[in-house]
Amino acid sequence: MPVSSDPAAPPAQDPDATLLRQLALARRRPDGVLREQLIVTQLLSRHVANIRRIVAWRACSQRPSDADIDELVGGVLIRVADALSKEVDAGNSITGLIAVNIEWEVIDYVRRRRRRAREVHPEIEDFPDPAAPERPTLADEACALRERIAGLSGRDQQIMAERMLLGLKPEEIAWRHGVDRRVVDTATSRALKKLLASDELSDVRHARDVRAARRDWDAQTPIDRRGGPES
């Protein structure tokens, strides 16, 4: 199921979906070369501010400079533009594509920083690789968050969707539901705790499943450490 960039809009009115449809149409025309590139530019430019915010947070442990963040944003945009230049499906999720590429751009950035740090200070031991395979990806987490909010009951679900996904202010939510602002805050806190708790359980379950799958795989296929299954 594609993730709409605008939770309030039905799929037909989602600006990303509209642009992706236009892109697919332009690509079918022999004279659509310029239009295709203009549409991709328009599509990407809608997301630049959000990409910048996400990148700044994802890389914050490295204390990136503004120039580093600009470079990271540019890198993400190039990766997404490149992906769009190869394959376009109007049903694609542009936010999912962006999330995947943000993650890899930041991972590459962290690796570069660590490599440089080791060159300057060889005494520094190897850090664990930032791309931990058992950890859910950013795109997975975004998808799971929507599902968990949808799984909340009654008014908690509505309030959380309005505050977290639609970006409404607490006062607006209170007005829509005809309740006091404090009711919104209490409901949000309660729902947030439920979300975090279910998320933690899910993470534990996921990590356990990954470990179990690896154990099974190792037991079935002895791997020669130098590469390739043992004959």
Binding site: D31, H47, L77, A142, C143, G167, D185, K193, L196
Partner: protein, 222 residues
């Protein structure tokens, strides 16, 4: 009862909703126990992905330029000149039109003599090489090019406008070509033969060359 994590998380969400999320993540993280910084970052960025662009995220000129730079970087064209050069080359290839044939057609349309045609060839080469600033190209020329390539003129105008502003090199106009014999029928020349002849006598460029220069560098309305 909310703990420090929830409190900071809701503060970040409300700031995000109001379009005033602090640029420095430490503004929120300093209220959160260090052991939960990674979790906070993970959850907040997952939320940002799930929401997509905010209503208050305007597409600024900088955002458009950044997107355009990325699109241009994935094509074979010159980064500074935007997407027009590569688009022109690809369209010509798709249509099976040689560069000389296109130049001949344009020269005929603007009734250019040999000097004007030479200038046209040089400027067109610069255009396809990405050496010209697209936003300085006359819209009537872009429409002519689109017509010759059986494409939409408005796409050409939009593509010419799409120039990566931060890195556009300033270039000086082409040196005037030496005056040569001209074909009959140039509209402007027919209207004002005396100034053209005078300009030739005092070493100013051929009016056909001037026309070509205006078309390629004189701005949208030239």
């Amino acid at each position: 009862m909310t703990d420090a994590f929830d409190h900071a998380f809701l503060a970040a969400i409300d700031d995000l909703n109001a379009g005033r999320l602090h640029d420095d993540p430490q503004h929120y993280l300093r209220a959160v126990p260090a052991a939960r910084h990674a979790e906070f970052t993970r959850r907040l960025t997952a939320l940002m992905v799930a929401r997509g662009p905010a209503d208050h995220d305007e597409v600024t000129a900088e955002a458009y330029d950044a997107a355009l730079s990325a699109v241009t970087a994935t094509t074979a064209g010159s980064a500074a000149a935007g997407i027009l050069p590569d688009g022109l080359r690809r369209l010509r290839k798709v249509r099976g039109i040689e560069r000389d044939a296109l130049i001949d057609a344009l020269a005929a349309e603007y009734d250019l003599g040999p000097a004007g045609r030479d200038a046209l060839r040089r400027y067109y080469h610069e255009l396809e090489s990405g050496a010209l600033t697209g936003s300085n190209i006359a819209h009537r020329l872009l429409r002519s090019l689109a017509r010759q390539l059986d494409a939409d003129g408005e796409d050409f105008i939009a593509a010419a406008r799409a120039v990566v502003r931060a890195s556009v090199p300033q270039r000086s106009p082409l040196r005037p070509a030496p005056a040569m014999g001209r074909s009959a029928g140039d509209f402007e020349r027919r209207r004002a033969p005396a100034p053209a002849a005078r300009s030739q006598r005092i070493g100013r460029p051929d009016p056909d060359v001037e026309l070509v220069e205006r078309l390629f560098t004189g701005g949208p309305d030239a």
